[in-house]
Amino acid sequence: MKFNYVFPPMDEFEIAGGLKVICMPDHEQSGCVVALQLPMGRFSDPPGREGLCEITCGLLSKGSEGVTADEFAEKLENAGATLFSDVGEEYCVLGIRMLASSARSLMPLFVEMLYRPQFAKEEFARLKQEMITGLEAERTDTSLVALRHFYSALAGKEHPAGRFSSVQSLKAVSIADVKGFFSDYFSPVNALCVVAGDFDREPLRQLVTAQFSQWVHTKGKTAVIAPPLQRHPGQATVRIVNKPDVTQTSLAIGHASPGEKCPEKTRCFSPTIFSGAEISRRGSWPASALPAAKPTASVRSCSLRPISAHS
């Protein structure tokens, strides 16, 4: 089997403020995507403030010093554009998807939200409420509950992999926390911007350079790369979560595993660098069909009513 595919040429350069850029002209269709990777994620959340990174990212499009939240939404949606964000463990990606013909008018808007977000009180309250509601809704998903408990049991609460946002942690986040987090992490110094779209190489380079050249921020924290998970050969932990209102039992079974440490991969794909967890088997069974557990190692059991999916 042979592939005759040649990956399209990429234009790599660095802008004065320190932002690394990769541009990829792509004429297949008339779209354009800008994706900005920043060195922050779930692991950057301070203990007790889990959810801070997600709140900060969520508030960026909710108004800046120059543009209100409604104006943001209006301008983007009128042009058929979409903002996206993906908060991972160590990195997050913020981006915009649009027609190439809209890039010149919308890229300044995208940059505006990165430069001068407003973090208005009412938007902050609204977003927190939305996230709390989302967490409440997620508690019905037994596989998600199992997965969170799995990570919590495997990593422990001292390790960022074992901590998740909860109603309590979201409520603990203040606007000052958000502003501090923004100031710490939103910097071109450790960021990477990838742009692909229906442009020729030179105009694309000029457009990106013009838009991002004013982004100057000398400091900038690096990503929180969590330490490897401790492995305890021969010792197993069983955690049982009683969730009486469901008809199905979900299991997450796994172990600590080596993580991705290849720097090249980090640049392009934002994998999890810390030594992660390998879930070798995860499935669901009807509650009635689950055989009585006969653990052979340490057992931790928690009976929750109502269930706390994020404890």
């Binding site: 297949e28 543009v67 209006e74 009128n78 058929g80 009412e122 409440e136 019905t140 109603v167």
Partner: protein
């Protein structure tokens, strides 16, 4: 690539193949769509289409169990399948050198399933678990009940997952009968999109499927005997967030009002500039989130709107707020700006769909098998361009008829004081405050 380049061929045995050459990446997406789904299931066999979809991966004459997916994975591709009300589809994506391999395996399982009894029983357990996973979600469960208000005892009232008692008892023989009846060349459409010439596609499809015999026995389609009239349902659920759903019967997906209803959905519920988000979530802070969707099937549909809110807000107020927005459209229509936004959104979505061979395949397959003609997918943009705003008002008045309104209220079984307090605080401190560009609130 031009959508006008889509080519089709109908073989003597009734099989239809649709091909589109898409260059750029050396991959090809191959999908086989069977025009059968839960709509065609008889009493006692609800869920049989989905069961059969699973068995299609459990071995045929030339392809041992699980081998289909393995062979495709081995060449770097991926395969999957889904069952819906009107169709069952099998999807494959591979490097384009392997088109022939995929078509050969698809042809083998079109009429050569082995129905190994042991594997049939294993698969039954898998499907029962899939059912439990779905029903574990209290909202999904209540929503299924909601569907019965629209479709009565028609198969559309039931999820394609079927009825658990039927899945638990359906025999291998009955499944085989169903298979022989509906998995035939004259009931299938092959869609191929990728870096291959249409001539090569039609040649390969002819070689692998051309000798198969047409033998579909046409089904008697069950009529939908729904009673007209408003309906209210309230269910206590193990879910902390109150949810209100408002729904109306909607036309089939190929109906001339389908485009109008899609546009109206976007205006009312699509994105942060939608009327529900602006008014109900942001300005009045009655809901934490609000949205909507049209669920248009081959023979009928539903047009729905929903809101999730905090327990301090009464369901009545939320319902009234949704009603107000729908009534405004029925009275005054939509603005020029909203029309422009919808056009731009639709166009952008279409452009991004075209980057992916899988997406194009999916769209062509759906339009051909559910809407009756793949050209509808292409023509929709033109229809949208020419749609006048008066038509939208007419469609809104025709389909959002309060005399035929269905309401579902999902009330949390337990009250969640934290949500109550948080909601109240947000409404007191956050609602309706005018923002300025500078200087905050």
């Amino acid at each position: 690539m031009l959508l006008a380049d889509i080519a089709e061929k109908i073989y003597p045995n009734g099989l239809k193949a649709i091909a589109l050459k898409k260059t750029g990446t050396p991959v090809v997406s191959v999908q086989v769509w069977y025009k059968t789904g839960s709509f065609f299931e008889e009493r006692g066999a609800r869920g049989i289409s989905h069961f059969l979809e699973h068995m299609m991966f459990r071995g045929s004459r030339q392809v041992p169990p699980e081998e289909h997916a393995r062979r495709i994975n081995d060449v770097g591709g991926h395969s999957n399948a889904f069952t819906a009300e009107d169709v069952t589809a099998f999807t494959n994506s591979v490097p384009c050198d392997f088109l022939d391999m995929v078509l050969s395996m698809e042809a083998d399982r079109m009429d050569g399933l082995t129905f190994d009894p042991k594997l049939f029983e294993i698969e039954r357990k898998v499907i029962i678990e899939e059912y439990h996973t779905y029903m574990n979600n209290p909202v999904a469960k209540a929503f299924l009940e909601f569907r019965t208000g629209f479709y009565g005892d028609h198969p559309y009232a039931i999820s394609p997952l079927g009825r658990i008692e039927d899945v638990a008892s359906v025999s291998s023989g009955r499944c085989r009968e169903y298979y022989q009846r509906f998995y035939t060349p004259d009931n299938a459409v092959i869609v191929v999109v990728g870096d291959v010439d249409e001539a090569a596609v039609f040649d390969a499809a002819g070689r692998h499927f051309g000798e198969k015999t047409a033998r579909t026995r046409k089904a008697e389609y069950p009529a939908i005997n729904r009673r007209k009239g408003a309906d209210r349902m309230k269910r206590k659920v193990e879910f902390d967030v109150p949810v209100l759903v408002v729904g109306y019967p909607a036309p089939p997906s190929s109906h001339e009002d389908a485009v109008a209803l899609e546009i109206l959905q976007l205006v009312v519920a699509g994105g942060e500039t939608s009327r529900l988000h602006r008014e109900v979530v942001r300005r009045r802070s009655l809901a934490v989130m609000a949205g909507g969707m049209n669920h248009l099937l081959k023979n009928a549909g539903m047009s729905m709107f929903f809101a999730a809110f905090t327990p301090d807000v009464g369901a009545g107020r939320v319902e009234q707020a949704i009603n107000n927005e729908l009534q405004r459209i029925k009275n005054d229509g939509i603005t020029k700006e909203e029309m422009e936004k919808v056009k731009n959104t639709t166009l952008t979505n279409r452009i991004f769909e075209l980057y992916s061979a899988d997406n194009i395949c999916q769209r062509i397959g759906y339009s051909e098998t559910v809407e009756g003609d793949y050209r509808l997918w292409v023509d929709r943009l033109e229809a949208l361009r020419n749609l006048d705003r008066g038509r939208l008002v007419e469609a809104a008045r025709r389909w959002w008829d309060d005399a035929d309104k269905h309401v579902l209220f999902l009330e949390p079984r337990r009250s969640n004081s934290m949500l109550f307090i948080a909601g109240l605080a947000r409404r007191i401190f956050g609602a309706g405050r005018k923002k300025t560009a500078k200087g905050g609130t």
